[in-house]
């Protein structure tokens, strides 16, 4: 295997087709003497353990931990890969179940993850297999999977859909109600005051309440600094969760890594959005009919 990230998806519609794609991938890694990881959901982990037998050479990582947040996943995989490479590894195999709405997780930030890792892992001799169950994965997610994986397991030829634009992020379910707060071109200080007042009745612990205020301050700052005005700030909440969003009339950042990795080159947008990606429950960023929207969800 040559250096560089070999990123492929595996589309399956039964236990047998999952195993038919994943088992040879793992065995290839083991045969080559590469560190080999399985970071799958419980059901797929059980299937692979059963098929592979007792093999201490495979490292199992719980997907719930490894894929809690895309920015955490990137930081974790980059650390794992850097350690292994510096210890002499010439190849690394990972099978990882990326979460999506079919298993109850919001998708947009994972779509951006799948796009971003093509660069974020490019420096490592990493072979990554991303299985998606076509029985549970929504069509728009499958379209994004096709756009973000240069290779499709079981197909000998390069994926012709690779590089197509990502689907527009879906609004949060709370957005079906009118916003509790709506401000146009507010100062960050005014936004923080409005958020503090609006979340007074929401069940959030101290850290989560701060995360909501910080996120609101950061996304309005980001919109005012980099967006095309007017910049609209909105907030929705139920008893235990708050969603804040800013929409501007620009196109948003072109770099898919923004928010997912701490971009050292810029002390402006990158770092602030990255902090939200590491503290909040969900961050979506993307273009819709009314402009470029960053939305953040905090709470249960």
């Amino acid at each position: 295997m040559t250096a560089g990230f070999f990123h492929e998806c595996a589309l399956y519609d039964s236990e047998d087709t999952f195993l038919a794609l994943a088992v040879p991938f793992v065995e290839d890694g083991l045969r080559a003497g590469h560190p080999t990881f399985v970071a799958c959901a419980e059901d797929n982990t059980a299937l692979l353990r059963g098929a592979l037998g007792r093999d201490d050479a495979v490292t199992y990582l719980p997907a719930a931990d490894q894929y809690a947040r895309p920015a955490d996943a990137i930081a974790s995989y980059r650390e794992i890969c850097a350690k292994l490479v510096s210890a002499g590894a010439t190849g690394i195999h990972v099978v990882g179940d990326v979460p999506h709405p079919g298993v109850g997780a919001p998708w947009d930030w994972w779509a951006r993850y799948e796009a971003a890792v093509n660069r974020a892992y490019a420096e490592f001799p990493l072979h990554g297999l991303c299985p998606y169950d076509t029985r549970t994965t929504p069509d728009y997610v499958l379209a994004d999977v096709a756009s973000t994986h240069p290779n499709v397991a079981g197909q000998g030829t390069p994926n012709p859909h690779y590089g197509a634009p990502l689907s527009a992020p879906r609004p949060d379910v709370l957005e079906q109600a009118p916003p509790l707060v709506e401000l146009v071109d507010p100062t960050p200080s005014a936004v923080r005051g409005a958020v503090l007042a609006a979340i007074a009745g929401v069940r959030l612990d101290e850290d989560s309440a701060h995360d909501a205020v910080y996120a609101a301050s950061e996304i309005i700052t980001n919109g005012l600094t980099h967006g095309v005005g007017p910049v609209r700030f909105r907030l929705w909440a139920d008893a235990a969760r708050v969603v804040v969003a800013t929409t501007d009339h620009g196109t948003g950042p072109s770099d898919p890594l923004v928010g997912l990795m701490p971009t050292e080159a810029t002390q402006t947008a990158g770092l602030g959005l990255w902090i939200l990606h590491r503290t909040c429950n969900y961050v979506s960023m993307g273009r819709g009919d009314d402009g470029f929207t960053v939305r953040v969800s905090v709470g249960a």
Partner: protein
């Protein structure tokens, strides 16, 4: 305990308080200065009024207060034309000026007062970029002197005479200011600095400038910053503090009641930062 915050009244300040007062109207300034000085007399401090004009004009500014008029006659209050107080002309020498006020405070104590209180219209001393820079450095140096001495001051600035952004730079170097000051205030404490207010996009340039001018004290390789009065700080502000500590080869010791600051330090992976409650 020194006062810190934003105020619209000048009375009730302690004998070591340091207040920035920007104004549009001289009548208003003179009325507030008189209140501030009378309040100092009540606390046993010698009162000193510094402004542009000759001694007779300055006495006239305070004539509406019978208490001050009497104090001027018995010597517990004095007026000093700006030109003679700040001897070195339009650009102050920060150290010389602090030494002059320390000397005047000692003299007041020797004369039986509890200390010295000054109300000054310092507008003429900040009219050029160089003089503004020197005066902002002086403001922090005198603030540091005040933390341990019975000297209190109201530093007043006539807003219409000053370039945009000037009042913000000055207000950020005082523990107390009136409205339309700065989004945050940096002031001296017994063992370091304190930051009060909010630090966000509006302070992106103001905070590094204030830190540079404060030349904060580093003690046993620690820069101690009391952030308990900070309602908000973003990562830019935190990184500016971190840069400041690093430029002094010091560990940044941040005091805050909230866990948010410690979490931000941890997420950013900042080294040489200690968060304490």
């Amino acid at each position: 305990m020194r006062t810190s915050g934003v105020t619209d009244v000048v009375v009730g300040m302690s004998t070591s308080d340091h207040l920035c007062w920007s104004f549009d109207d001289f009548t208003d300034f003179r009325a507030r200065a008189a209140e501030f000085l009378v309040d100092g007399l009540v606390r046993g401090q010698r009162a000193c009024y510094v402004a542009r004009g000759d001694a007779r004009e300055l006495a006239g500014h305070l004539a509406s207060s019978p208490v001050l008029a009497a104090a001027l006659r018995d010597g517990s209050a004095e007026v000093i034309p700006l030109e003679s107080r700040y001897r070195s002309g339009a650009t102050v020498s920060p150290n010389d000026q602090v030494a002059a006020y320390a000397e005047a405070t000692s003299a007041a104590l020797a004369d039986g007062f509890t200390g010295l209180r000054v109300a000054a219209d310092a507008t003429a001393l900040v009219s050029s970029p160089a003089s503004l820079d020197a005066f902002c450095r002086y403001e922090h140096l005198i603030d540091r002197y005040m933390t341990g001495s019975p000297f209190s001051a109201m530093c007043a600035y006539h807003r219409p005479e000053l370039a945009d952004g000037t009042v913000e730079q000055l207000a950020s170097m005082h523990p107390v200011s009136n409205a339309r000051g700065a989004p945050f205030r940096l002031h001296a404490t017994a063992d370091g600095l304190a930051l009060v207010g909010e630090i966000d996009r509006a302070s992106r340039e103001l905070l590094p400038l204030a830190l540079l001018r404060a030349e904060p004290p580093v003690d046993r390789s620690e820069l101690r910053v009391d952030a308990t009065g900070l309602r908000f700080i973003d990562h830019h502000g935190l990184l500016a503090l971190h840069d400041c500590a690093r430029s002094h080869a010091a560990t940044l010791v941040l005091r805050s009641e909230k866990s948010a600051l410690a979490r931000l330090v941890s997420i950013l992976g900042l080294e040489d930062v200690e968060c304490v409650r």
